[in-house]
Amino acid sequence: MSVTRSGDRPARRPRVSRGRLCAALGVLALSAAGIGRGTPYTPADDAQVLAELPAGARHASAPNRDLTRTRLDIALPLAQFDISRARATGDLRFLGYGEAILLPWLNRTAGSAQVLVLHATILQSRHQFDAALGELDQALKLRPDDPQAWLTRATVLRVIGRYPEALESCGHLAAAADPAIVVLCTQSVQSLTGHLKSAYAAVAALPQQSLPPEARAWRYSELGEMAERLGDDPAAEHWLREGLQVAPDDFYLRGACADLLLRHARAAETLELLRGYESMEPMLLRITIAHLQLHDGAGARSRALLENAFALEQQRGEAVHRREQARFFLDVDLQPAAALAAAREDWQVQREPDDALILLRAARAASQPQLAAPALEFLHQHRLEDARAVAAGSPP
């Protein structure tokens, strides 16, 4: 069983942006245009290397592609491989490769629960949460006990803030999944609904050996997040770094750790932590912020790369990294109004503590704290405790 977490966030549902945000993005697109396109040239040397191909990005011959259309036992592991490559590298193209394998199977009359669950995972990674839920429900009609479907469903529901339903999904896991996974699933939601301390204790008490390997990083990231929300940053850093020992490629853990360091203005350590992860947009954002904190003027290139990536997303009609974009406007561009507009759009789609946090911060920076009311209301309604949110202006 593969564990999906809220942090797997390469993309989200295409949305039409408007008003202020639109204007800000327009400016952004203009400034990015300059670096986006170069002048075509003819290389002088035949040996010049133009591209290094990552594993799994090779041309597949037509007969090989036909195989994935006729043999489900070949299609499923290949799609699974592509999805895991996307996770490990942050390379969004792999989501497309996986989808290409799954689409012919999705369109068949006799549905396959496994195909639906894998495709829902891709949709979730693109933050198309409603569509993902629809396919998961279809999968559960075909296989009512499918643990992967219930776990993915719980994750999606948690990301969009539908906690009671997320808990219910975790409950359905009990029939077929490892008990430790059920505890992780349940406690991660409990920690957001008024039971933070007890959930923290319960997850900390889970012996690491009881967990399947892929769930170990998940446990650490939950512990790290919970400690942060409790206000115990040293403990949080400990958990996150432990997690990175177990799963160095887990970019959710790495991002969370970078955020923690940046909150304490430990920019040099952040850069150290993120060295070699520049190709991932969310990491690039944190690198840029770290350079700004250091006033070393070295963030210009990463900033330009980010601007270009945001502009391309905008032209594609996708607001893939809206949360990152809000942070970019707030912490890099120092445009609180644009940040607030992006954060409000983000809040329409996803409701993780980080989404509430960016909305609170942006609203305060833009001197319009009343516009963060939906987030405050949400935190209050679910008794969601978060020390960072209190620091950003939420009443304790």
Binding site: A11, I35, G36, R37, G38, T39, P40, Y41, T42, P43, D45, D46, A47, Q48, V49, L50, A51, E52, L53, A55, A57, R58, H59, A60, S61, R65, T89, G90, D91, L92, R93, L95, G96, Y97, E99, A100, L103, G276, E278, S279, M280, E281, L284, R301, S302, A304, L305, L306, N308, A309, L312, E313, Q315, R316, G317, E318, V320
Partner: protein, 371 residues
Amino acid sequence: MRRLIACALLSLSAAAAQAHIASNGFLSARVEGTHVSGSIEMAVRDAELAIGVDANHDGRITWGELRASEPQLIRYLEQHMQLSAQGQRCALALQSLKINDRVDGSYAWLSLDARCPVAVRQLGIRYTVLAEVDPSHRGLLSLTAGAAAQTGVLGGADAQPAFTVYAPSKGRAFVEYLRAGLWHIWDGIDHLLFLVSLLLPAVLLRRNGHWEPVPRARPAFMSILKVVTAFTLAHSITLSLAALDVVRLPSRLTESVIAASIVIAALNNIFPLVTESRARIAFAFGLLHGFGFASVLADMGLPQDARLVSLVAFNLGIETGQLAVVLAVMPLVYAMRSSLMYRRALLPWGSAANASLALMWLVQRAFLPGG
């Protein structure tokens, strides 16, 4: 050797600093009349996925390998991208492979040149590049026409989006469509032949099986006026209905009936059946001629913001051209009306020539493939 190593290190560090973004192709196009020029770019990495470029399978794509694959790449892109103007396919040619370095890696760059059968007003772009291997791939379009620029997204659910590239001001549209209407009456010689066939006997009277010249100008003038007005009224109605997409007839049918209308009008001059109410013939067939005018307008397309103005201007142009012909021909015909040559030779043999020419068109349009 040292230089080579330095080069490799540099390219490695550049690769490491590239942000992973979803797969995009870049299409840049400029429209000028029937001609579309620009460039298409595909990430070198995506080219491998599409056609297989890495000949030595070492996981690196060199300029040499890409260059060797140029013909396949061009063939692939030409098969997966089609340009059309108002639905009519343009002939696409891609060539001169180059490299363009963008922030997320190197792109194969090809110059693009397309010739369309009609002036481009609505540029349709069917784009299925990589659709089979990466459905999240999109083509990002930047399109310019004159001073106007726009962007668009290609591929995905809407496999064939169309972009309006021509949006003139109302005044400009008026002038342009007026001129188009004026010219069309000359290009569309069949409309003129029909009208002239109906008008030739307007200077004569049919009495006891013989043609006689009209004694005064007034009845001739009234007869001409009636025919021209009936024809104008009729084709204006159907031209408007068709141009505004209210009614649509297959062009083979309208073109055939237009040819038939000339045959009938011309034969009627040789073996007169209808002598008093030629205006009715003018009206009845005028309805069909209107659809013929409309097909010309459809090729041009009506500018989105000036549909009505352009339609009226086009129609006015047709009427003006038609009136010019009537004013040039009819006084001559009137002057010749008393001569035997006119009644015995010009009218019957001229009409016979008209009829046979139109009969040929009729056969061509109605029965030959592709008419």
